[in-house]
C-alpha cells in the first residue's frame, strides 16, 4: 500500500493552493480475528480497513477530516478532494490557532517489517490441538498494520509490520483460570506448546481450596502483567505536559510537593524499542527515548505538537500517553521471586483499575486469574478475588522492596477500532504492604 498512498498523497498535495499546508495520514489494517470459547470457535473473520486523515492549514488556522479508502485510486482521490473542498470552505470561518504546530523540516523514512506470520488457521489448529481437553477462551488477532504520513512540504514516511497477538485464558472452574499471551512477529510452535504445558501445571494448583483473605495489608509480588495494569492508570495523564501544567496529573504530589518514588525506579518512554511508527501525525520524528522518572524523581513530560507550542517545549511524542513504556529492571532474579516473597500473595493479573484519589495517585482494582497464596516460598493455594486500594507512591515508593532483573515485553492486546501497537517492557515488583479492602 505504500506506493498507493504515495501516489494518492502526491495527487492531493499537487492541488494545494499557495499558502496552504496539507498533512496526510494513512492507516491500514488487514487482520484476522478468531474468538475461542471452550477451545472451539465462537466467531471467526477478517477485517480490511483503510482510512485517510487530512489536516488542512492556512493562515494560522487548521481543520481536519478523515475518510475511508476503497483502494481504487480514482474513487478515493475524488472523495478526498471533495472533502478537502469542504475543509477549504470551513477554514476562513475559524479563529487563528495559537497552538498550531507541524513539522516544517522534511524527514523521510520507510520501514517494512518482514512477514513471518504463520497462516492464522494453522496457528489456531495447533492451539486447539495442544489445548485439547482444556476450557480455553481467547482471541487470535493477526495480520498487517501500516501507517503513512505525507505533507505538501515534501515529507513522506511509511511504517508497516506484520504481527500476531494470541491472548487466552484456560479455566479450571468458576473464575479460576490461567491467563496467558503469545504475541510477536514470528511463530514458534514449541513455545506455544510449552506455555500450554505450563498452564496445565498451574491448573493443578488452582484445584486447591481457594483462600479467602481478610481485608488488610499483605506482602505481594506483582508480575509484569499486573504492573502493566497499574502503569496504564499512571499513564492516564501522569506524564503528559498538558496534564502536568494544568495540575491534572495523578503525579501532582511529585510536581507540587516534591514527593518521590523509590530511588530504584526509572521510567521512560522508549520510542526506539517500541512498535509504533517513529513519525507523528504532524510529521515530527520522535526521539529514541524520553526519561519520565529518573531514580524516583520526576524528569521530563511527553509533549505533543500542541502542548509543545503552548508551553514552549520540544515535540517528543505523538500522544501524551506512553506507547512504549519501560521501567528499568532491578536486582531480584525471577527464579528467586517466591523465596523473596516468602509468605504473601503472588498477583499474576490485576483488572479494571481506576483512581480512588487521583491527587494522590491512589488506585483501586481487582485481582484476577491465577493469584496464588505463597507460604515460606511455595505457592499453596489460589485466592478468591480481592479489591485493592493503594497509592503508587507506596507501590513504587516506600513499600517497594525490589524489581526483577528480568523484564517482560508486553504487546498490548487492545483492538478498539484498530489493533493496538502499544507495548511495554516491565519488571515484576516485590511490595512489602499492599492494601486490600473488599
Amino acid at each position: 500500500m505504500e506506493s498507493y498512498f504515495r501516489e494518492l498523497s502526491e495527487k492531493l498535495c499537487a492541488g494545494v493552493a499557495a499558502g496552504e499546508v496539507l498533512l496526510l495520514n494513512y492507516q491500514g489494517e488487514d487482520s484476522d480475528f478468531v474468538r475461542l470459547n471452550a477451545n472451539k470457535v465462537r466467531q471467526a473473520g477478517h477485517v480490511r480497513q483503510q482510512t485517510l486523515h487530512l489536516d488542512l492549514i492556512d493562515n494560522g488556522r487548521e481543520t481536519s477530516a478523515s475518510l475511508p479508502l476503497s483502494g481504487q485510486l480514482d474513487d478515493d482521490l475524488a472523495r478526498a478532494q471533495r472533502l478537502l473542498g469542504r475543509l477549504r470552505e470551513q477554514l476562513p470561518l475559524l479563529l487563528e490557532d495559537p497552538h498550531l504546530n507541524y513539522a516544517s523540516e522534511v524527514h523521510n523514512s520507510s520501514y517494512h517489517g518482514d512477514n513471518n506470520l504463520p497462516a492464522a488457521g494453522d496457528a489456531l489448529e495447533q492451539l486447539i490441538t495442544t489445548a485439547r481437553g482444556l476450557d480455553l477462551v481467547g482471541v487470535w488477532a493477526g495480520g498487517d498494520m501500516s501507517h503513512g504520513f505525507a505533507n505538501s512540504l515534501g515529507q513522506f514516511n511509511w511504517h508497516s509490520a506484520c504481527s500476531f497477538n494470541l491472548d487466552w485464558s484456560i479455566y479450571r472452574e468458576g473464575d479460576k483460570a490461567v491467563k496467558q499471551n503469545y504475541a510477536g512477529f514470528t511463530w514458534d510452535s514449541e513455545l506455544l506448546a510449552q506455555k500450554i504445558a505450563d498452564a496445565r501445571d498451574t491448573l493443578e494448583l488452582l484445584g486447591q481450596k481457594p483462600r479467602t483473605l481478610e481485608n488488610g495489608q499483605y506482602r505481594v509480588f506483582l508480575t509484569p502483567a499486573a504492573l502493566y495494569e497499574l502503569m496504564g492508570m499512571v499513564s492516564w495523564g501522569g506524564f503528559g505536559l498538558k496534564s502536568h501544567r494544568t495540575a491534572q496529573t495523578p503525579l501532582l504530589s511529585m510536581v507540587r510537593e516534591g514527593a518521590t518514588l523509590h530511588q530504584n525506579v526509572t521510567i521512560s518512554e522508549h520510542h526506539a524499542d517500541g512498535l509504533t511508527p517513529r513519525f507523528t501525525r504532524a510529521g515530527f520524528i520522535k526521539p529514541d527515548s524520553v526519561e519520565l522518572i529518573k531514580a524516583g524523581a520526576y524528569r521530563d513530560c511527553l509533549a505533543n505538537r500542541r502542548s509543545a507550542r503552548e508551553y514552549n517545549a520540544v515535540v517528543n511524542c505523538g500522544i501524551e500517553q506512553p506507547q512504549s513504556l519501560q521501567i528499568d529492571g532491578g536486582e531480584l532474579h525471577q527464579n528467586d521471586v517466591f523465596n523473596a516473597l516468602d509468605t504473601g500473595l503472588y498477583i499474576s493479573n490485576l483488572w479494571y483499575c481506576n483512581f480512588s484519589d487521583r491527587n494522590h495517585c491512589r488506585i483501586t482494582g481487582m485481582t484476577r486469574f491465577a493469584c496464588l497464596w505463597v507460604e515460606k516460598g511455595k505457592a499453596v493455594a489460589p485466592v478468591k478475588v480481592m479489591r485493592f486500594d493503594e497509592s503508587i507512591y507506596h507501590i513504587l515508593g516506600d513499600r517497594l522492596e525490589g524489581l526483577t532483573l528480568e523484564r517482560e515485553h508486553i504487546l498490548d492486546t487492545g483492538s478498539y477500532e484498530w489493533r493496538s501497537d502499544a507495548s511495554a517492557r516491565l519488571p515484576g515488583a516485590l511490595v512489602s504492604e499492599f492494601t486490600f479492602t473488599l
Binding site: 472451539k40 481536519s64 488477532a141 491472548d167 495540575a247 483499575c353 481487582m366 484476577r368 487492545g414 483492538s415
Partner: protein
C-alpha cells in the same frame, strides 16, 4: 447521508458464493466535533466511516468478513476470506450455527430530529462554545476548561439472502463542558452540559443537559470542591442521583445480565458473571422496589432502535420486576444457545466488528417518592452525583465507584459539599439495600457512548434512565 446502497448490494450479489444463508450489513457513519479549550478553538474534526460486514452460515459453520473496499473486487476478496473462516469454523464450531433463527421482518427506523445540526451555523456553534469557556473562567483557580459539541449520524442497513431489508438512521448529539480547579496539590474536575453522555435527536436535546445554562455552576462547584472537606469514611445511607445511577445500573446490572458473558464468551477479556442461567425466574436481585427494563422505545435515549444488528425486532421487556430476575440481555444467537428468551440486543459498534450481546437502553423504573422526600428520609448520609471512577470485578460483583461531587445529608436536609466521594459494595447484596426510588420528577435519561467489550474490542453507545435512589448501609469513603 442517507446513502443509496443498491449499487454495492448489486455488486455483492454478483460475487456472493452459494451458502445456506448470508447477511450484508452496510454502515455509514459521520461524526463532526467542535471543541474550545481555554478560549482556543481546537482543530475541528469530521470523521467519516463506511464499510460492509458480510456474514455466512453454511453447514453448521459461521464466519464473517468486513471491508471498506466497496467495489466488486473488494467484496469478492472479502467473501473469499469469509469462506476460508467458514470452513475452519465448521471443523471447530462451538455450536451448530444452522440452529440460529434468521431475521424475518423488514422495516425502518429514524431518529426524530427537531432542530437539525445545520440549523445553527458553524460560527454560531463556535460562538456558543466560546461563551461557555468565558462562563467557566470565574477565578484564577480554574486552571483548565473546555466545551465540546459533537454530532454523529449513522445509517445501518441490513439485507439478507431471505429478502429481509432493514434500514435505520440514527442521529446523536454529544455535548458537554468541564472546569478544572486547583489549589496547591488539590485538583478537582467538575463537568456538566451532558459531558460523557449523549442523546438521540437534534440540537433541541441540549436543553435537557442544561447546556449551556449550568456552565457557571460547574465552575463554581469545581472551586468549591477544592475547598470542601473530604468525604467521611463511614457506613451510611447513600443517595445516588441519575448521573451516577446510570453507572451503577450499567456495571452491576447491565453487564452481569449479558447472556454471552454468562455463556463464557467474554471470560478472557470483559469477564464472566455472578449470574447463572438457573437464576432467571426466581433469583432476588434487589429489593421489591427494583424494576429494570430493556426499553428501545424512549426516543431520546441513546440505544433506541427498531431492530438490533442481527435484524431482531426490538421490544420493551422487564429484566428485573419487583426485585426478581426475569430475563437476560441476550440476542438471537445467545438465546438459541441458552434455550432461553432474551431481548433484541445483538449489536456491533461499526461495520468492522461482529455483533455481540450489548446493553442498549437499560432503565430503572421510577417509584413514588419525590426527591425532597428521599432527602427527608435520610438521617445521615451522602448524596453523590456524576461518575468519575468505576471498577468492578470480572464477575461483576465487588465494585467501587467514585463521583465528582458529594454532599452531606443530615437530619433530612442537604448540607455542604464533600470532595472525593467514593463507595464500594457487592452487587449481589447492594441492590437488596435499595430503600427508596424516586418518582418521575427525578427521572433522567442518561447514557454513555463508551461501553467497551468484546474481542476484538468494541465501543458502543448505551442508554440508562433512572430516578434518584436511596441505598441503606453502604461503605462510603473519601480521599487521603
Amino acid at each position: 447521508m442517507p446513502t443509496d446502497w443498491q449499487p454495492i448490494i448489486d455488486d455483492f450479489k454478483a460475487v456472493v458464493p452459494r451458502v445456506e444463508f448470508w447477511s450484508l450489513r452496510l454502515v455509514q457513519d459521520e461524526t463532526e466535533t467542535l471543541q474550545v479549550r481555554d478560549d482556543v478553538l481546537q482543530p475541528p474534526s469530521l470523521v467519516q466511516s463506511r464499510g460492509v460486514h458480510i456474514s455466512f452460515i453454511d453447514r453448521g459453520g459461521m464466519a464473517y468478513a468486513a471491508t471498506s473496499a466497496l467495489n466488486r473486487g473488494g467484496l469478492r476478496t472479502a467473501c473469499e476470506h469469509a469462506l476460508d473462516w467458514l470452513a475452519f469454523s465448521r471443523r471447530h464450531a462451538l455450536f451448530a450455527a444452522d440452529s440460529i433463527p434468521r431475521p424475518g421482518h423488514s422495516g425502518s427506523y429514524a431518529t426524530a430530529v427537531q432542530i437539525p445540526w445545520e440549523a445553527w451555523s458553524l460560527e454560531d456553534k463556535l460562538g456558543r462554545l466560546q461563551d461557555i469557556n468565558r462562563e467557566l473562567k470565574i477565578d484564577d483557580a480554574i486552571v483548565d476548561r473546555q466545551a465540546v459539541l459533537s454530532r454523529r449520524r449513522s445509517q445501518v442497513t441490513l439485507v439478507t439472502s431471505d429478502g429481509v431489508n432493514i434500514d435505520q438512521q440514527f442521529h446523536y448529539i454529544i455535548p458537554g463542558y468541564a472546569a478544572v480547579a486547583n489549589r496547591g496539590a488539590q485538583t478537582q474536575l467538575r463537568s456538566g452540559g451532558g459531558w460523557g453522555s449523549a442523546r438521540q435527536g437534534g440540537l433541541e436535546q441540549l436543553a435537557a443537559f442544561d447546556f449551556p445554562d449550568s456552565a457557571r455552576q460547574v465552575a463554581e462547584q469545581a472551586i468549591a470542591l477544592v475547598d470542601a472537606p473530604e468525604c467521611p469514611n463511614t457506613r451510611a445511607d447513600l443517595l445516588l442521583m441519575p448521573s451516577q445511577m446510570m453507572l451503577q445500573i450499567h456495571e452491576s446490572i447491565g453487564h452481569p445480565l449479558e447472556l454471552d458473558r454468562i455463556l463464557g464468551d467474554e471470560r478472557n477479556y470483559a469477564g464472566t458473571s455472578f449470574v447463572s442461567l438457573d437464576m432467571f425466574g426466581s433469583y432476588r436481585y434487589g429489593s421489591e422496589l427494583l424494576s429494570v427494563t430493556f426499553d428501545p422505545g424512549i426516543a431520546q435515549e441513546m440505544a433506541s432502535y427498531a431492530f438490533d444488528d442481527e435484524g431482531t425486532p426490538a421490544e420493551r421487556s422487564y429484566l428485573i420486576r419487583d426485585g426478581i430476575l426475569e430475563r437476560p440481555l441476550g440476542g438471537a444467537v445467545s438465546q438459541a444457545r441458552a434455550e432461553m428468551a432474551g431481548v433484541a440486543n445483538a449489536r456491533a459498534c461499526d461495520w468492522n466488528r461482529p455483533v455481540i450481546d450489548r446493553m442498549a437502553n437499560l432503565n430503572l423504573e421510577p417509584g413514588t417518592r419525590s426527591l425532597d422526600e428521599l432527602i427527608g428520609s435520610i438521617e445521615y448520609g451522602v448524596l453523590m452525583e456524576t461518575n468519575r471512577s468505576w471498577s468492578i470485578d470480572d464477575s461483576r460483583n465487588k465494585f467501587q465507584f467514585g463521583c465528582e461531587l458529594g454532599r452531606l445529608i443530615e437530619n433530612g436536609e442537604r448540607k455542604g459539599l464533600l470532595r472525593n466521594p467514593n463507595y464500594r459494595g457487592i452487587s449481589a447484596t447492594f441492590w437488596r439495600n435499595l430503600a427508596a426510588v424516586g418518582d418521575a420528577g427525578s427521572f433522567e435519561v442518561w447514557g454513555t457512548p463508551y461501553c467497551g467489550k468484546g474481542e476484538p474490542n468494541q465501543m458502543v453507545q448505551v442508554g440508562h434512565a433512572s430516578p434518584a435512589c436511596v441505598f441503606h448501609d453502604v461503605e462510603i469513603f473519601g480521599g487521603d
